[in-house]
């Protein structure tokens, strides 16, 4: 290799593919046997799966009802609202990519690729929709460029995301009395859109409530503490389905006549409270892991109780429980399917509705449910990937 390697220690030879194979797959005779067995096994499994996916399966229900899977029965003439929300998200991803970089970059790029593929799908598609899909990657790059301007500050980007959340809800539901933004009954919301909304509202709202419950449970005020303990223990002692039933059927019975709370909202409240109770317990675990010395030091330098909590204890406690919290978010995302039981047409329920919409599709369960499973898997994997990267970035478990 090197010609003048008199005193220099020879570096290990570069890990070529053959070397790698030999080291990892064929280093001993039983390794070799195992490798060959695994290859044979994988060959048959993959062959079976692929031939089913590509030749046997009938993807008609999925290919013919993309709109239903995406947004349910949301009025077609109002779909520009969903498009606007996607534009907003694409732009914000671009902006966050510039400002935060790292993992956000991966997600922004994944989004760009996903939208580009959708825009170029070789199926019959409204030209307007195609252009709409194509606009998303462009907006991401515009957002990325906008990151150079004064709005490219961490603070503004965070505010932007928060604002986009509020705007999303407003846009989707519409506002009474505004002609160009009429109300859209939540009964018409459905599909992936509804699944996302349920999960997002659950995640965004249950987090602060969970923090407050966890702090309340540690409080020295007996009434506050008692309330928090009671709430947490009751909710944790009951299945989510029960809570959803309570929220959708029993709650209206207690409300005075004339007051009706929206069905979707009721499900959201139920899921949020359910998630908050579990969140509280997870966060409490983190709070208990913080040494007393931290609180003493915070008080000794003159911080009051709120500052000591908010600046010293909570940031450290939350960092410790990120993996648990993300695990809970993933569970919550999948629990949204339970909303089908109280009559909401989220992704899973839409799948069933699609199957029943056409006599010829009746037996195509496999195709439809596999499709739904893949969608769930993609987003869950994204969440757990983000969590792992966040842990690395924050140095969890180093210390």
């Amino acid at each position: 290799m090197s010609t003048n390697s008199t005193t220099v220690i020879r570096p290990p030879s570069p890990p070529g593919p053959v070397r790698w194979l030999k080291k990892n797959l064929f280093s001993t005779w039983y390794d070799t046997v195992l490798t060959i067995l695994a290859i044979v096994f994988l060959y048959f499994v993959l062959k079976g799966v692929l031939s089913w996916v590509l030749f046997t399966a009938n993807w008609a229900p999925v290919i013919n009802s993309p709109k239903l899977f995406a947004v349910g029965q949301y009025p077609p003439e109002q779909l520009w609202r969903v498009g606007t929300i996607l534009f907003m998200v694409s732009f914000l991803f671009g902006l966050s990519w510039r400002v935060w970089g790292g993992t956000v970059r991966t997600f922004a790029l994944a989004l760009v690729v996903a939208f580009s593929i959708m825009a170029l799908l070789p199926i019959s598609m409204d030209l307007k929709l195609r252009i709409g899909f194509l606009a998303n990657p462009i907006l991401t790059f515009i957002g990325y460029q906008a990151g150079r301007t004064p709005i490219g500050k961490s603070r503004w980007v965070a505010m932007g995301w928060l604002l986009s959340f509020v705007l999303t809800i407003l846009l989707l539901s519409g506002i009474e009395g505004i002609n160009w933004l009429p109300k859209v009954e939540t009964g018409l919301w459905g599909g992936l859109l509804l699944t996302f909304l349920l999960a997002l509202v659950g995640i965004v709202a249950s987090f602060p409530i969970g923090v407050l419950l966890a702090l309340g449970r540690q409080s020295k005020l007996p009434v506050l503490k008692g309330f928090c303990v009671l709430f947490i223990e009751i909710v944790r002692g009951v299945p989510l389905v029960t809570i959803l039933f309570m929220a959708s059927i029993i709650l209206p019975l207690f409300l005075p006549e004339g007051i009706r709370i929206d069905r979707v909202l009721r499900a959201m409240v139920g899921m949020t409270l359910f998630a908050a109770a579990y969140m509280a317990e997870n966060i409490r675990g983190g709070l208990q892991a913080i040494p007393v010395g931290q609180i003493e030091a915070a008080k000794a330098v003159g911080l009051n109780n709120f500052q000591a909590m908010g600046l010293i204890v909570l940031p450290q406690a939350l960092r410790l429980v990120i993996p648990t919290i993300v695990g809970q978010f993933i569970a919550l995302f999948m629990d949204t399917t339970l909303a089908a039981i109280v009559g909401l047409l989220e992704l899973l329920a839409i799948g069933r509705a699609v199957l029943e919409s056409n006599v010829e599709w009746k037996l195509l369960n496999m195709e439809v449910y596999l499709f739904i499973a893949v969608i769930f898997w993609v987003f869950n994997y994204a969440m757990s990937y983000a969590s792992r990267r966040l842990e690395v970035a924050l140095g969890v478990g180093e210390r």
């Binding site: 008080k299 000794a300 330098v301 003159g302 009051n304 500052q307 940031p315």
Partner: protein, 255 residues
């Protein structure tokens, strides 16, 4: 409040403790401690472990609550009134045995946090002061590292800078060198000695008798929850009056 106090003569009593009692359940930790400390005085508290010396200095900034007696710090009486407690804590800095730095903040943020939040200083002013303090304790180049990246001695010096950042009138040290490796003790004691000579009022719980001899105005010997004997360092080491003091001194000075 700060201006009102500067009109006092420098020899005023800044800490007055009268008949302070404290119990941990049935255990009577402090059994009527009375101690008065003057401005700019440096007092070293020593005594066997379990004698209540740490508990005592922790009552001065109310990390421990006393159950009987009075503690008056810089004219403010410590009671259940949280405003009084917070006012006292702003005037009293504390350094802990285990440093207790905030591991999720950089060294600079550790030092600027309290001035920004409790004194409402603008960031620039807090950072400028913090850098001066880090200079003073000899580690300005570590400002942007995290506490976990520093040695024990460096961490303890950051802790001293953090306490000084609030511009306290009194500094409490709770066994500041006990958790340090021997070679790092000196760097911390040097900073403390410099602080003592600069006129800071200090109460130091420590076993470092060399520091006591050099820097203290008075040594207070604790045993079984009360003060057994107190004197100037020279007298204390040369002519201890009580048997318990003699025994303690013979134990710590022979090795």
């Amino acid at each position: 409040m700060a201006e009102a106090n500067t009109t006092h003569s420098p020899n005023d009593d800044i800490i007055i403790c009268r008949d302070v009692h404290k119990w941990f359940d049935d255990f009577h930790v402090l059994q009527g401690v009375s101690l008065t400390i003057k401005r700019q005085e440096v007092v070293v508290i020593c005594g066997p472990s379990g004698s209540g010396k740490s508990t005592f200095i922790r009552t001065i900034n109310r990390l421990e609550e006393h159950q009987r007696g009075d503690i008056i710090v810089d004219g403010i009486e410590l009671s259940h009134d949280i405003r009084n407690i917070e006012a006292v804590r702003r005037e009293v800095g504390m350094v802990f045995q285990q440093f207790n730095l905030f591991p999720h903040l950089t060294v600079l943020q550790n030092v600027t946090l309290a001035p920004i939040w409790a004194r409402k200083w603008p960031n620039e002013k807090a950072e400028e002061t913090a850098m001066q303090l880090l200079e003073r304790v000899g580690i300005p180049e570590q400002a942007h590292k995290y506490p976990g990246q520093l040695s024990g001695g460096q961490q303890q010096r950051v802790a001293i800078a953090r306490a000084l950042a609030m511009q306290p009138k009194i500094m409490l040290f709770d066994e500041p060198t006990s958790a340090l490796d021997p070679e790092m003790i000196k760097e911390v004691l040097d900073v403390m000695r410099e602080l003592a000579y600069s006129g800071m009022t200090m109460i130091v719980v420590t076993h470092e008798m060399g520091f006591a001899k050099e820097a203290a105005n008075r040594i207070v010997f604790f045993d079984e929850g009360n003060i057994v004997e107190q004197n100037t360092p020279t007298e204390f080491f040369a002519n201890p009056e009580e048997e318990r003091t003699k025994l303690f001194l013979s134990q710590i000075l022979t090795h």
